[in-house]
């Protein structure tokens, strides 16, 4: 995407299919994310964004088939390696921040143990050294009174603190890439602001690459460098964050942005997108948005629209983009 910077992760044509499913749940998506950059993957539930993150972490269940034409993570192939290789990467070079801080932490172990465990596993530190680093990590994520909290159990912490612990756990081994899956969705708005600001600060300090998975365009606007909009397992539009907000091309992107209530004075009815995301069994053969697109034409239904550059770095998978040109001709 952004040329010049070295990509930490580069994926080409990633597909995921679950055993027995009639269609790919992830259907040929390509991603690049460079050190210090944040790539946001945006989409509604069922679009495949979480599956993508799990595929990149090698955490999909065994009935899932993951394939890609090329994958590079830190200059080495990522997919197609054995489980041991995955275990050495996970939690070490590549770490994850989860959506639900309530459930992402094991309720029966103290948070200190849970952070130290990851450190001991990947750095081979002694229990004492790992604990010391766990404490340092808690301080890094601005947990007040960290030394006392080290022995606290998850239920003794508030949601915001728990999410800080999850972040500390993810950062414990200074990963090259963090995948944050809806990191603030479960949080109140003031806490969300704290966490987003924390993530941004820490990313700036460490230069870690980040993939941010979210449904909230506000979060995207707040922290992302690049955006990929996903719909039904495909990327329908991607590009630098500003380009996407100012020049949305794909009808889905437009509908999504239009359905967000504005924080300004009321501007009439909200835009809506009819219907819902098709299940794998209902997947249309051509453009996967065709069943819901108000601009659909016959060609949309037959062939998969290619992801093509509208402007350099801004790609869209719609044969009718830019809309005003196509529709203007029709109208």
């Amino acid at each position: 995407m952004t040329a010049g910077l070295r990509d930490v992760l580069s994926v080409r044509d990633l597909t995921v299919r679950f055993g027995g499913a009639p269609a790919n749940v992830i259907d040929g998506i390509s991603l690049d994310v460079a050190a210090g950059r944040t790539l946001a993957i945006v989409g509604e539930s069922g679009c495949g964004k979480s599956v993508t993150s799990m595929a990149l972490m090698g955490l999909l269940p065994s009935n899932a088939t993951v394939a890609a034409t090329a994958t590079t993570f830190l200059d080495a192939p990522l997919l197609g390696r054995d489980e041991k290789h995955w275990r050495d990467i996970r939690g070490n070079r590549m770490a994850m921040i989860f959506q639900e801080p309530m459930t992402a932490l094991n309720p029966v172990f103290s948070i200190g143990d849970q952070i130290a465990e990851s450190i001991a596993r990947h750095r081979g530190l002694s229990a004492k050294a790992a604990r010391a680093r766990a404490l340092a990590m808690l301080e890094t994520v601005r947990v007040p009174d960290a030394a006392r909290r080290l022995d606290a159990y998850p239920h003794e912490l508030s949601g915001g603190l728990r999410q800080r612990v999850v972040i500390a756990m993810a950062l414990a081994n200074a990963p090259a890439l963090i995948i944050a899956d809806e990191p603030t969705t479960a949080l109140d708005v003031t806490i969300q602001a704290q966490i987003l600001s924390l993530i941004a600060t820490l990313q700036a300090e460490t230069g870690t690459a980040m993939i941010l998975i979210t449904h909230d365009l506000g979060v995207v606007a707040e922290v992302a460098d690049d955006v990929a909009v996903m719909y039904a397992g495909r990327i329908v539009e991607s590009g630098p964050v500003a380009a996407l907000f100012d020049d949305p091309q794909h009808p889905y992107t437009i509908g999504l942005m239009g359905s967000m209530p504005s924080q300004g004075p009321r501007g009439g009815r909200l835009a809506t997108i009819a219907g819902r995301v098709p299940t794998p069994a209902e997947m249309p053969p051509g453009c996967r948005f065709a069943t819901r697109c108000p601009f659909v034409v016959e060609a949309c239904r037959t062939a998969r629209p290619p992801l093509r550059a509208i402007t350099p770095g801004h790609d869209v998978a719609c044969i009718r983009a830019p809309l005003e040109q196509h529709l203007g001709a029709a109208a």
């Binding site: 809506t272 009819a274 219907g275 209902e282």
Partner: protein
């Protein structure tokens, strides 16, 4: 102005009940279990027509004969045809299982519903009673009830049913507690529905699936308990067969006539296995969580 969200034909999904049914039908183990049980149940129902011999007719000329073309499963200590007794015995054993579980549920489930739904003092009282019953050893209760009511299959069922009752009360109460704060119950109260209606229409249907599973498992243990009570002379009365009493009679001939214990033993084993497989299948099919 509002749009009607139509559902295209490919989006059609079967109704809840039939969906659970489909899931159930797709469960191989449950199907095998159900198949076996249907065969056994049919055998029990049509016993007078399909049993080759009179199950209580003794024949002193063919005492303890091994399986043969004449007697497919052999004969017992009084020269009765084991196959015929097995078929007739299915009545006793399956009915014993079914009725005792019905008794257990008929008492335990309402108690659990009351305790769980209303809570407070009623809950404390019911829970105490249930605890007390639970800590009374099953066989003591069953033997005492059996001896009190007199030995017979019906009384054995009552005894087993009463003994299994606290488990259902406990399970029901726990389940009610787990859904007591669900939004749909609050919604029902918000409409102004009376409590008994809410219990019947909202609470009970939603806790049914673990109860059904437990029932399938309890039927299995009730059949075994009938065998145990038979072993102590408190079950089915002679000369009528139940698998438990057959096994009991066969115990003295395990070496001389192993087929005598093999037939009812295998029947109990297969039935219990089937009920458990069925219970598993129901558990999977009825569990709303597994539908997503």
């Amino acid at each position: 102005m509002t749009m009607i969200e139509t559902v295209s034909p490919i989006l059609f999904r079967p109704r809840s009940t039939s969906r659970a049914l489909q899931k159930f039908l797709g469960n191989k183990g449950a199907m095998i279990g159900a198949g076996i049980l249907i065969v056994f149940a049919l055998a029990a129902i049509f016993a007078p027509w399909i049993a080759p011999y009179n199950p209580i007719k003794t024949n002193f000329l063919v005492i303890r004969k091994p399986p043969s073309a004449l007697f497919w499963l052999g004969t017992d200590e009084l020269g009765r045809d084991l196959l015929s007794r097995l078929i007739w015995g299915a009545r006793g054993s399956l009915v014993a299982g079914g009725i005792s579980v019905a008794i257990a549920m008929a008492i335990g489930v309402p108690l659990g519903l009351l305790a769980g739904y209303f809570g407070g003092k009623l809950d404390a009282l019911i829970s105490r009673i249930v605890d007390a019953l639970l800590s009374c050893p099953f066989l003591v209760l069953a033997i005492a009830l059996g001896a009190f009511l007199g030995p017979s299959l019906i009384n054995a069922m009552i005894a087993i049913g009463l003994s299994a009752m606290p488990i259902f009360a406990r399970l029901t109460r726990g389940q009610v507690l787990s859904i007591r704060h669900e939004d749909y119950l609050e919604g029902a109260r918000a409409i102004g529905l009376p409590d008994r209606w809410i219990i019947a229409r909202y609470v009970l249907p939603n806790i049914l699936s673990p109860l059904v599973v437990q029932a399938a498992l309890t039927i299995a243990s009730a059949i075994l308990a009938e065998a145990s009570l038979s072993f102590l002379g408190l079950g089915q009365q002679p000369p009528y067969p139940s698998w438990g009493s057959m096994l009991n009679a066969a115990r003295n001939f395990m070496e001389q006539a192993p087929w005598m214990s093999l037939a009812p033993g295998a029947a109990i084993y297969i039935t219990v296995l089937s009920f458990n497989l069925l219970g598993d299948g129901l558990s999977d099919a009825l569990d709303p969580k597994s539908q997503h």
